[in-house]
Amino acid sequence: MKEVLHTFSKELCGCLERFFINLEQIEEIRIRIDRPVEVIRGGQSSFIPYIVSEEEGQQILSKLSQYSIYTIEEELKKGYITIKGGHRVGLAGRVVTEGGHVKMIRDVASYNFRIAREKIGISEKYSSYLYDGTWKNTMIIGAPQAGKTTLLRDFARLMSMGNQNLNIYPLKVGIVDERSEIAGCVKGVPQYTFGERIDVLDACPKAEGMMMLVRSMSPSVILVDEIGKKEDVEAVMEAIFAGVQLIVTVHGYSLEEVKRRPSLQPLFSQGSFQRFIEMSNAPLPGTVVNIKDFKGDSLLFKRTVNNK
């Protein structure tokens, strides 16, 4: 949280502290030029009467880039920046295009600070569904803000650390972290709590990264965030057939919905995934709605399924 506050002006920090006694519960801070600052906490949005001027917006961007805009060119193209502590800042504004592709966001008018939070231990109660000597290929499905990445991150920790009580042995874990969101790397070093047996390819394109890891780091499990593009799916298939276990996340509301996405078809037709975890941000982010096996039968509510 202090990394985020560091990028704000002193006045804004003061204002935030006056309105929120417990800054740690904040999930998102949305800053829009010439409009009041919006703070989202526990799913509830509230505005604080602090208007951000254009100049202050510039300063935020300049601080986010460590006063060097040229270092975040790539990020300005993608529309988000990862800062120390693994927090992610989404950007919107006037987009400059070149040859039909986004070149950069020039006049940034909206900043969305998503506060990353590690929840150590949340994956433990679901591990019995995913682990029986080896980890099963798993897909975590959820809407934005449902806590997919947080759960994925804790699985990574559990895998690399192992857990004696749950009879889980520590394994070599590889993470391909295209958006620097899972491990929140700064200069290649993960910022979150992980075990010893973890290797992170930071800011690496997923498809290429998965193959790089398979070839060079011999991981037992690979974790990837937000599968969606065609080449990602191909790389996932490759990795699975290379004998590596995969845990991935996908945007979507439910397994049924995700199954309808054309680009993800190969994953389902081959039956490569054995477990599906559905997550939701209601009532609170991080709610696991259901865990399904490869046939789509629920494992959490087994009895009701069997009675049918």
């Binding site: 300049s62 460590q66 006063y67 060097s68 040229y70 060119e73």
Partner: protein, 170 residues
């Protein structure tokens, strides 16, 4: 007694002469050092894509004297969370310009360069650096000419003025 006085006068005026000559040499040297700094900065920005504070610290290792102090100071100010790059640059330049032989117009080029530092993408930043380099080159040329023209003059003038004073006073 008279002769001791005469020696003092001669020393003093010669020292002035040599001092001015040194100013001329130093200006050329300092402009050259700045050129080198900007060129290194360009390389750090274009190839290693380091943020300014790291780039400046790295370049400072290759420099010495006041310029090194300036770079380290600038990098520290940025690391401690400055308001903006421009203000940090100005503040450090203000500090730096005491005790250097650079002229006001040389410093103005640097100030102008600081206005846009870190505000643009890679290529615009490179253009700004090239522009500043070109300005500095012009100043260097002028400094070099001045040096050639006035260096020996200042030195001899210092010694001769001393002799003149001594002759007049004796």
């Amino acid at each position: 007694m008279k002769w001791i006085g005469a020696v003092f006068i001669l020393f003093a005026t010669s020292w002035f002469g040599f001092y001015f000559a040194k100013q001329l040499t130093d200006r050329t040297k300092q402009i050259r050092a700045w050129k080198l700094t900007l060129q290194s900065l360009e390389a750090e920005i274009m190839y290693s894509q380091l943020p300014l504070q790291d780039a400046c610290r790295r370049i400072a290792d290759q420099m010495n004297g006041r310029l090194r102090e300036f770079l380290l100071h600038f990098s520290d100010v940025l690391a401690n969370g400055a308001e903006s790059t421009k203000l940090a640059w100005m503040e450090c330049l203000e500090h730096y310009k005491k005790n250097v032989s650079l002229k006001q117009k040389d410093l103005e080029i640097l100030m102008q360069f600081g206005e846009t530092l870190g505000m643009h993408d890679k290529h615009s930043q490179q253009k700004q650096i090239v522009l500043a380099l070109r300005h500095l080159e012009r100043e260097e040329q002028e400094a070099l000419e001045n040096h050639q023209k006035y260096d020996r003059m200042a030195k001899t003038l210092g010694v001769l003025t001393g002799l003149l004073l001594i002759i007049l006073l004796i």
